[in-house]
């Protein structure tokens, strides 16, 4: 193992939620806004790794998103196992998806790592009437100790901010201990487009 490995611990964050609540769009939005200059229509599957500086120390985060695999239900416990944070996404324009989000939160609280930091992400706020203020959702988040973010993957509003703020809320030193269940990569890459067309590095500094 390299010395880099010892100083930087990569932390796993999973994105959960119903199909078509916009999980993949959130990731794509971050990668487009932050990592790609031209918005060419050649985006393949992407996953993101980034590092956030907290107290002058880098915090390496890898976001796991298995959008499209929602129906492989039996895989989900493995998927969130070893994660240090989970972002549960729902679609504000579909009441049903909030119910599913609640079920996710309950499952995580019951079965996942007890120290898991959970965030509720109210996505597609561009579709929401301005007067509505997500009171019910905020109350639910308060009661359950969740962070809450409002995003629009379509307009880009709040997306990068969410990932950065959420990362800052993650405990810095826990990654390895919790992650030991899974496998460590020795090399780090920041963002990789699956079709291999582009590989750029960027660090979000805060």
């Amino acid at each position: 193992m390299t010395s880099k490995f010892l100083t930087e611990v990569q932390q796993k964050v999973v994105v959960l939620g119903d199909f078509s609540v916009g999980k993949s769009s959130l990731i794509l939005r971050v990668s487009k806004n932050e990592f790609l200059e031209e918005q060419e229509s050649t985006i393949g599957a992407a996953f993101i790794n980034f590092s956030v500086n907290v107290d002058n120390k880098p915090n390496q985060i890898q976001i796991w998103d298995t959008a499209g695999q929602e129906k492989f239900r039996s895989l989900t416990p493995i998927y969130y196992r070893g994660a240090i944070g989970a972002i549960v996404v729902y679609d504000v324009s579909r009441e049903y998806s909030f119910q599913t989000a609640k079920e996710w939160v309950e499952e995580l609280k019951e079965k996942a790592n007890p120290k898991l930091i959970i965030a509720l992400c109210a996505n597609k706020i561009d579709l929401l009437e301005e007067k509505k203020k997500l009171l019910k959702e905020k109350e639910y988040a308060d009661e359950n100790g969740l962070l809450i973010y409002e995003t629009s993957a379509k307009t880009g509003k709040g997306v990068t901010e969410m990932f950065v703020d959420f990362s800052k809320n993650l405990p810095k030193d826990q990654g390895r201990e919790i992650f030991n269940d899974d496998f460590f990569e020795e090399e780090f890459f920041n963002i990789e487009l699956h079709n291999g067309e582009k590989k750029t590095e960027k660090t979000i500094c805060c």
Binding site: K12, T42, G68, P77
Partner: protein
């Protein structure tokens, strides 16, 4: 039972046997089937009323006030009952009658005008298109009439129309010449041929059937992905139209000779493309489309009869060889069959792990190899509206979930640690064989059973596992980890030699990202062909694996065992798991 009764029964049996030899009329045969299979009947009933709406509304336009006034609730029920009767669904009609207290008109002289009309229209339904068709033949077709003919039949060709297809459809021959508003190319690199970035459907079909060379992948990409922007019926219709070069174009040519030359080229190319389509994606053609094709050959006169013949031959060949292209050359390895294979109480422990893995793989591959490109377009598997298109994808996922739940159930059901270790070991060995057989779909399924919440928490069970088996589990965990979008697994997959059943989920994620990350249309109305090129790459990899078959012997008795997976529901299973090894329990409190 006395002898006479036996005798009678025998006679009856013979009678029925004789009957079955007699050719049964189609209508009777249908009702027999319906009786035997209530589920088919139900399906038939639910969909029938929708299939022939056109004819009904031709006779009885709903907008007319006098008709509105005459059709009360009772009348509607009568109409529906009549309809059901006409289609041999008298039982359903009877139920309807009992529930609504409306009786069916049985005598023609007492019949309502509307009911009569309906009966007439029903008999017309089957002939409706034929009527139009014979009209065309009477007028002695010239090519312009063919266009009219296809225009009229257009509605019957286009079966499913998605919202996305509602984009303005200009008739093919009215499409203006190439410009930025109907076709955009990928900026030219060093490559010789042009690559289309985005274009209208008409332009794509033009390029498909033009002598001008496009990049070599254009045609395969088009046929693999076109169902994401247009249904097969519409494409067929467009190709017919393309074939029918209108004479009005002659004015664009120097002389008649030049025009005839052009016409010939287009016709030839179009037929060739049609042939390619039939050859490479025959399953796109349902019975209706094949009939349309037949009509086309019948009614089209000209010099292309020989190519028609070729195409018809190809169709015949495809129909007859549809189910038999899997003959292996080498003799498959001898299956490892247990001695008590015919025993009713055959258990998992009787069967060799390798053979279990083989039989699992044969069943998996059978489903996997059936997956059609259309199942993977537009994320059909996760959209309620398009689910019907993704039959095999959904079946494979269902099997995946059931199998892993079955694995977890089997382990949790054992009360004692040592029994759990025994069966866990069995599954690890099966998993190991699945790995060697390159069946990653079921390998991940079994691994997720072993790693499910209910099993994963059984600390004492895993402690008792042989170190070698723990190591196998850990190796698989690493290889199959979702980290870096399944980086390790992908790398491994590209190194193996097929046959293989890849893990479907990775492809579904890739396609989802491509779908969500790229718009379907560029500049509002141009089909984003670059996006389809990305989707093609994913599906092409899947097809590569679909084309190499496993050379293994199916063993029915074992396959039956691995086709349904008795299992306990997730929550209940977790509860039992907590009883087996309570949270924080000490070693001496556990049953070993």
């Amino acid at each position: 039972m006395n002898n006479r009764e036996k005798e009678e029964e025998k006679e009856e049996n013979q009678n029925t046997q004789q009957e079955s030899k007699v050719q049964i009329e189609k209508s009777e045969w249908m009702s027999l089937i319906m009786k035997k299979h209530p589920d088919v009947l139900q399906l038939h009933e639910t969909t029938l009323p929708f299939s022939n709406l056109t004819s009904f509304s031709t006779h009885i336009p709903s907008g007319k006030t006098e008709i509105k006034e005459r059709i009360g609730g009772g009348m509607l029920i009568k109409l529906i009952m009549e309809y059901l009767h006409q289609n041999n669904l008298s039982k359903a009609a009877e139920n309807l009658s009992n529930e609504s207290n409306v009786s069916r008109e049985k005598h023609y002289h007492a019949i309502d005008v509307l009911t009569l009309l309906l009966q007439m229209s029903i008999t017309d339904i089957d002939n409706l298109w034929d009527v139009n068709f014979s009209k065309c033949v009477d007028i002695n077709l010239d090519e312009i009439d063919e266009v009219v003919f296809f225009e009229e039949r257009k509605t019957s060709l286009i079966i499913e129309e998605d919202d996305e297809n509602l984009i303005d459809d200009i008739p093919l021959w009215d499409e203006p010449p190439d410009s930025k508003s109907n076709i955009i190319y990928v900026p030219q690199t060093t490559e010789e041929y042009k690559k289309i970035h985005a274009a209208t459907l008409n332009k794509l079909i033009e390029k498909l059937t033009e002598p001008e060379e496009m990049d070599s992948k254009f045609i395969p990409i088009f046929f693999m992905t076109y169902q994401s922007f247009t249904p097969p019926g519409k494409l067929l219709y467009k190709l017919f139209t393309r074939y029918t070069v209108p004479n009005s174009l002659e004015k664009n040519f120097e002389n008649k000779e030049e025009f005839e030359k052009y016409k010939k080229k287009i016709k030839f190319r179009t037929l060739n493309i049609l042939k390619t389509w039939l050859d490479t994606h025959f399953s796109d053609f349902n019975q209706g489309l094949l009939e349309e094709l037949n009509e086309f050959f019948k009614t089209t006169k000209g010099t292309d009869q020989r190519i028609f013949k070729d195409i018809k031959k190809l169709i015949d060949f495809k129909i007859n060889n549809f189910h038999q292209s899997k003959s292996a050359i080498e003799i498959p390895p001898e299956p490892k069959v247990p001695k008590n294979i015919f025993n009713k109480n055959l258990s998992l422990f009787d069967i060799d792990e390798l053979e279990i893995a083989r039989q699992i793989t044969l069943i998996d591959f059978e489903i996997f190899s059936q997956i059609k490109p259309a199942e993977l377009l537009n994320c059909a598997w996760s959209k309620p509206k398009l689910k019907h298109r993704a039959k095999n994808v959904l079946e494979l996922i269902e099997r995946f979930n059931e199998m892993s739940q079955w694995v977890a159930t089997k382990i949790i059901q054992r009360e004692r640690v040592r029994d759990r270790v025994k069966i866990l070991t069995k599954f690890i060995m099966i998993a190991n064989h699945l790995f060697k057989l390159n069946n990653f779909n079921s390998l991940i399924s079994i691994m997720s059973g072993i790693n499910s919440s209910a099993v994963h928490r059984l600390k004492f069970t895993f402690e008792e596992l042989a170190p070698k088996n723990t190591e196998i589990i850990n190796n698989f965990k690493q290889l199959l980890s979702g980290e870096g979008s399944y980086k390790k697994y992908r790398k491994h997959l590209h190194q193996i030699e097929p046959p293989c059943v890849p893990y479907l989920g990775v492809y579904l994620t890739d396609i989802t990202f491509i779908e969500d990350g790229n718009p379907d249309y560029v500049n509002e109305n141009l089909i984003n062909f670059s996006k389809r090129r990305l989707v093609y790459d994913v599906i092409e990899e899947i097809q590569k694996f679909q084309n190499v078959f496993y050379n293994l012997h199916p063993v029915h008795q074992i396959a039956v065992f691995l086709n349904k997976f008795p299992r306990i529901e997730k929550k209940k299973l977790y509860q039992i798991s907590q009883e087996r090894e309570p949270r924080g329990a000490k070693k001496n409190e556990i049953k070993f």
